[in-house]
Amino acid sequence: MTEVEAEVAVTPPHDIQHTAHAPHDPHATATGVTNTKLAIWMFLASDCLFFGAFISAYLLYRGRPGGEGPTAAEIYNIPFTSVTSFILLMSSLTMVLALAAIMRGDYRRLRIWLLATALFGSVFIGGQVFEFTEFYREGLTLSSNLSGSTFFVLTGFHGAHVTIGIIWLLSLWGLATQGKLSVGDSEKVEIAGLYWHFVDVVWIVIFTMVYLIPQ
């Protein structure tokens, strides 16, 4: 072992030294990840199982006979849903841009991108409302058959998640317009973003499993 290597080996990296002095800084945590960020990750992990149960139910029941009226698979408007899905996915991009903006201290772009994200999310929800209405007209309802029950409850709960995300984003946008979000608050945007990306990822899974994979 050369002398340089030995020195590297005995000197802990800076961040580890910092952690060792953690108690003197009330913000420091044992891992270096803030409490709030860790908590949102835990919540999202939990939420995976929630959606997992509904997706499992959908897949289990897919293509089963029984009930009346069309199944969801028979009346999907894939091009339409693809467009709204694309818009929802693009909202993840604007979310990232919002975070990048607040980290740079560019508050004007922060407001623009937050609003854009909420807007894209609202377009998606609008599309879902339109889709649900169409399906009801064509005879697919919560109670018409298994396909309706599993489809509406699964996508409905996803829609509720998106709606909560939109309210969250608009609240942040409201704070930003009052000048109450500064660089130091970038984690607030980041956490809303984690939630938002999660909701998008869940939609990718739902869109693939529920809409795209043929019976």
Binding site: A30, N35, L38, M42, A45, L49, S149
Partner: protein, 647 residues
């Protein structure tokens, strides 16, 4: 010291109509407190109240079954009572009581001043209380209390009110109430996980944490992942009942068994959510009263983790009688056998901990030893269920009732009682009375075995569970009489416990901060602990750090007390050895900025049952009313700083 204040620069101000509360003492402070120790006491008090209620329900059931063709209860009353007994003991007693211990002890054991999210912690408690009240309000408002069993099998529960098998709104209350309790316990689990990962004192590495903290860590992950599954299942039941969906409607292709899969995919981890805290408590008590370190600390920890993982792969043993086919059943029979291994490992570790120890048979130690014996019996009758033909015979008989009461009463409840006797001096600087304690232990031990041991036999003789009466001449009467008598012995014993608590709180033997010669950090601070727990955040160097500060070993391996060891330091630091609970008097504790009390956890929680009633009775305007406090509380919560700046 940089505090949160410097960064936030938010002037003290009102949020909406509520001024930030300041009081940390007095009656009203309990409604706004964010102190994990006070919240723990609230959890424990409420859970013990539900323990009594659930116990009274059990006594009624036992009186009904005392002789053949009992007439005390009607069939539907019996259904309500056994459903609420199970639901209460699992969700309103077992889980919250374990959370109470976790709340009080986790920060103290890892050297933290509070949990990671003090207000979320308070919300967890209020949500639990509201959920409990909501469930019990069904007796008055629902036309019927929940009456489909604590597992609420479909299609019994999921068939709508108009076509229903079950009278009244009972199942609606049950479904919505459990979702509410699930929300509360999920927030609690997130809080515990983040606290344990992030708030450990320097040197408190994961493998130096007390086993109790480890077990609560595993429990928190189990809760985190099990609750959403049952929530989804309950939502499906709710939609089937109220919106005529087809999830469990066999006529339209739905499969009632899906519910059983989802429920037990939650339900089996739930069993470990209930038992692991007991295992953790026992792992703390045994070393202290054996004056030996826990035998095989790492193995005990990894066994707990192994149980946590394997607990997800055994759920079908609750469903062996449903005809899933030989492959599935064989696989789950095997996994059920295998999960007994880490459990067995723990039992041997506990036994080895006491081996050649200098045993002190105090009440906590008696409960811990009782735990090992009774839990082992429960484990043995449990592993029998992996033998599928035997299980098929025993399914839905009293044999199963005997088994899980040995695990949950002989296990969890014995552990919790041991924990009460062990940590009571930390809360009140007084010991629970030892003579009453020993009476408590022996009566509960006798009563418990009188009640539940004969259930093995009547179960094997074919007595079904959940039957509200039975004919004479089946050979069940004698043993049912013994069981009923035993249940009243248990009730007497629990009464002794409460007498002991009320007596000892003011008149028990006064003790210092470390009455048992403890090994873990909570014994280094005054009793009761000051609001900020630790004046100085401790630096931890080993497992059982406090012990090693007090004792060393000589060349023959005998214990030698260090002349300037930790205990002496404790006496000095805490003055009179009792602490005054405030810390100001010592000139210490200044500059420690604790999170401020808050109304908003309670405000948000109040909205939950209102929305719950809206869901049960489908009064959507009421849902909007309930959403108001939730929204207002959430926004105000988000805007107010966790710690109000000092003015």
């Amino acid at each position: 010291m940089t505090t949160v204040t410097d960064v936030l620069e938010v002037p003290a101000r009102r949020v909406g109509v509520l001024r930030r509360p300041k009081a940390t003492t007095g009656f009203w402070s309990w409604f706004t407190t964010v102190d994990h120790k006070k919240i723990a006491i609230m959890y424990a008090t409420t859970a013990l109240a539900f323990f009594v209620i659930g116990g009274v329900e059990a006594l009624l059931l036992r009186v009904q079954l005392y002789g053949a063709n009992g007439t005390l209860l009607t069939a539907s009353q019996y259904n309500e009572l056994f459903t609420m007994h199970g639901t209460t003991m699992v969700f309103l007693m077992g889980m919250p009581l374990a959370v109470a211990f976790g709340n009080y002890l986790i920060p103290l054991m890892i050297g933290a001043r509070d949990v990671a999210f003090p207000r979320l912690n308070a919300f967890g408690y209020w949500g639990f209380l509201m959920g409990g009240i909501f469930l019990y309000s069904s007796f008055l408002l629902g036309g019927s209390a929940p009456n489909g069993g604590w597992f609420g099998y479909t299609p019994l529960t999921s068939t709508g009110l108009d076509r229903g098998f079950l009278p009244g709104h009972g199942p609606d209350f049950w479904v919505v109430g459990l979702v509410m309790l699930g929300i509360a316990s999920t927030t609690g689990a997130i809080n515990f996980i983040v606290t344990i990962i992030n708030m450990r004192a320097p040197g408190m590495t994961l493998m130096r944490m007390p086993v109790f903290v480890w077990m609560m860590f595993v429990v928190a992950f189990l809760t985190l992942f099990a609750m959403p599954i049952v929530t989804a299942a309950l939502i499906m039941v709710y939609f089937d009942r109220n919106f005529a969906t087809n999830f469990f409607v066999a006529a339209n292709g739905g499969e009632p068994l899906l519910y059983q899969h989802l429920f037990w995919l939650f339900g089996h981890p739930e069993v470990y959510i209930l038992i692991l805290p007991g295992m953790g408590i026992v792992s703390e008590i045994l070393p202290v009263f054996s004056r030996k370190p826990l035998f095989g600390y790492a193995v005990v920890v990894f066994s707990g983790i192994a149980i946590g993982f394997m607990g997800w792969g055994v759920w079908v043993h609750h469903m062996f009688a449903t005809g899933l086919g030989p492959v599935a059943i064989s696989a789950f029979a095997l996994s059920t056998m295998i999960i007994a291994v880490p459990t067995g490992v723990k039992i041997f570790n506990w036994l080895a901990t006491t081996w050649r120890g200098a045993l002190r048979l105090t009440t906590p130690m008696l409960f811990a030893l009782g735990f090992i014996a009774m839990f082992t019996l429960g484990g043995l009758s449990g592993v029998l269920h992996s033998i599928v033909p035997a299980d098929t015979q025993q399914t839905d008989t009293y044999f199963v009732v005997a088994h899980f009461h040995y695990v949950l009463f002989g296990g969890l409840v014995f552990g919790l009682f041991g924990g009460f006797y062990y940590w009571f001096p930390k809360l009140y600087a007084r010991k629970l009375d030892e003579r009453l304690g020993k009476l408590n232990f022996w009566t509960i031990m006798i009563g418990f075995n009188l009640t539940f041991f004969p259930m093995h036999f009547v179960g094997l003789l074919g007595m079904p569970r959940r039957t509200y009466r039975y004919d004479s001449g089946l050979g069940w009467e004698g043993m049912n009489q013994i069981e009923t008598i035993g249940s009243f012995v248990i009730a007497f014993s629990v009464l002794i416990f409460f007498v002991n608590v009320f007596y000892s709180k003011t008149r028990g033997e006064a003790v210092g901060p470390d009455p048992w010669d403890g090994r873990t950090l909570e014994w280094t601070i005054p009793s009761p602990p000051p609001e900020y727990n630790f004046e100085e955040i401790p630096e931890v160097e080993s497992i059982d750090d406090f012990w090693h500060r007090k004792y060393t070993e000589d060349e023959q391996g005998r214990l030698v007390r260090l002349p300037s060891g930790g205990a002496v330091a404790v006496e000095e630091r805490t003055g009179d050895g009792h602490g005054d609970g405030h810390g100001e008097g010592h000139g210490e504790g200044h500059g420690i900025h604790m999170p401020s009390p808050s109304y908003f956890p309670l405000v948000v929680a109040i909205g939950l049952p209102i929305m719950g009633y809206a869901a049960v009775f489908q009064m959507w305007w009421l849902a909007a009313v309930g959403a108001l406090p939730v929204l207002y509380g959430s926004y105000a919560w988000a805007i107010e700083p966790q710690t109000e700046p000092e003015t």
